[in-house]
Amino acid sequence: MAPAGIVLAAVTLIPLLVMVYMAFTDYNQRSLFTGEYSFVGFAQFTGILTDPEFWASFVRTIVFTAALVIGSVVIGVGMSHLMTRLSTTMRTVTTIVLVFAWAMPNVAASLVWNWMFQPGYGVMNWILTQLRIFGDMTNTDWGADTGLAFIAIWLLVVWQAVPFIALTIYAAETQVGSEYIEAARLDGASEASIYRLVTLPFLQPTILLVTILSVIWDFNVFNQIWLVSKGGPDGSTSTLGVFTYITAFVGLDIGAGAALALITALLLGAITSVYIRNLIRSGEDL
């Protein structure tokens, strides 16, 4: 325990304390070399909280996270139920397809996305043009338009998020007591009402768990945004994570970046405490 405790303290706790401290300073590029900085106190936070760009990325993060979570959980739960209605072969095929989408490192997936949505030669541009619904999209530059960039990133994140949700819910769904379903069927319940009244209540804790995890993960989506749109055009797709990164590592205003990171950590801490309370209540022995 002791060595692990020391390492954990050195690489996690100390940086966290440093972060809280730095959040109240004007540490910047110059400080990296000279080590000089001054204490600015709460002015840092009033500065951030009155910055319209902060609020824009805050609202963007909430809306985007909600869109991602709803999209992936709804599709995931739907797929899980669908999998109970498949033959063994078809279920295996679906599982393999899901695992492949899940396993692709998100850096590689982002590159595939950039290629599929590339103006001029992207296969998605071609397919959408052939559909003749949206007009000629051959030369559409997805990264140059806020809405289109978000749609592409949404598709990318949901594509990789659904497999975990579908497979987790499916694992829970196979545990639903068959006697309940049989009893409901004997009582003449329709398939839809069996699902709503028997299966869903049983799945509720698992759905809650994957929803909380999805909120945490989607809130932190970084690579996909960074590699597909770089937060652009004009910062219009930058979420809190991207905004923080740009502030700290592109603008090299590290003090302000630390303050932003602290705000994000506190927001996520609130969500995480719900998750941990749930975990403890579900009987995890500590």
Partner: protein, 280 residues
């Protein structure tokens, strides 16, 4: 299995929906592989061909002999190995202590570990950057290894603890009666039994460290010390123009080890991810 099949007969409607879903969901992966095998001159066409005509291995050759591949592969192997070895060994001892010995503050430590695990990577990145800058660890393999240990150790402890908890206490009692010391109980009895847990934890640590882009991108300034994800993302420089085929071949090569692990460990991953194994 048989009861479920009786409960839910396979329906043609469900099969049709599943088929459409599979085509849509498999398409990006297929497109990556297909593009990787398509000759470079055929890649940029206004009407894409959906079948791999004239398949070639030339793109893989381009990718491998692209500047920096072997250097960056070596970087990846060094930091991933370092992270896996330390995270698993440290996690092993911590998990043994947290499951086999009772002491004050144990519960608090466990909750703390879980909380640390949930801290977003982007939040620890800034202070780590500063601390490592002070300590002269920026741009070194040691720094990167430490960063990966910090992001995987909490989970590694948490996961291996569950393997220790599954072992009956009688095992140690019997060994102790036979005169074994605490150290002998650990190394001769408990550690061999949690070997499967160590392997599973290693795989998780491997995936986390292998896939990381953000930390390596921020910490490593020397191109020859980039790891593979950074190499992959900067594959097409504005100077040489985009070589999509080469990039897709590189993506296939980079994804391959992870995909293999996922396929083997799919069931365990479902459980592990719920415990926060792989950071989003």
């Amino acid at each position: 299995m048989s009861t479920r099949r009786r409960l839910h007969r396979p329906s043609p409607v469900a099969t049709t929906i599943a088929l459409i879903f599979c085509v849509v969901w498999a398409f990006p992966t297929y497109w990556m592989v297909k593009s990787a095998f398509t000759p470079r001159k055929d890649a940029l066409t206004t009407t894409p061909s959906f079948l791999p005509l004239n398949p070639t291995l030339a793109n893989f050759e381009t990718a491998i002999f692209q500047a920096g591949f072997f250097d960056n592969l070596r970087s990846s192997v060094i930091v991933v190995t370092g992270a896996v070895v330390f995270a698993v060994l440290l996690g092993l001892f911590a998990a043994a202590a947290l499951s086999r010995f009772r002491f004050r503050g144990r519960r608090q430590i466990l909750v703390l570990i879980l909380l640390i695990q949930m801290i977003p990577g982007a939040a620890t990145l800034i202070p780590q950057y500063l601390v490592f800058n002070q300590a002269g660890l920026l741009g070194t393999y040691t720094g990167l290894i430490l960063a990966y240990i910090s992001s995987t150790l909490p989970f590694s402890i948490w996961m291996m603890r569950s393997f220790f908890l599954a072992l009956p206490a009688e095992l140690e009692e019997a060994a102790q009666l036979d005169g074994a010391s605490t150290w002998q109980v650990l190394t001769r009895i408990l550690f061999p039994l949690v070997l499967p847990g160590m392997i599973a934890t290693s795989v998780f640590t491997f995936i986390n460290a292998w896939n990381d882009y953000l930390i390596a991108y921020t910490f490593m300034k020397d191109q020859s010390m980039y790891t593979l994800p950074v190499w992959l993302a900067s594959f097409s420089s504005p100077l040489t123009g985009t070589d999509v085929s080469g990039q897709m071949a590189a993506s296939v090569l980079f994804s391959l080890p992870v995909v293999v692990f996922f396929v083997i460990l799919q069931r365990k991953l479902v459980v592990g991810m719920s415990a926060g194994a792989v950071k989003g």
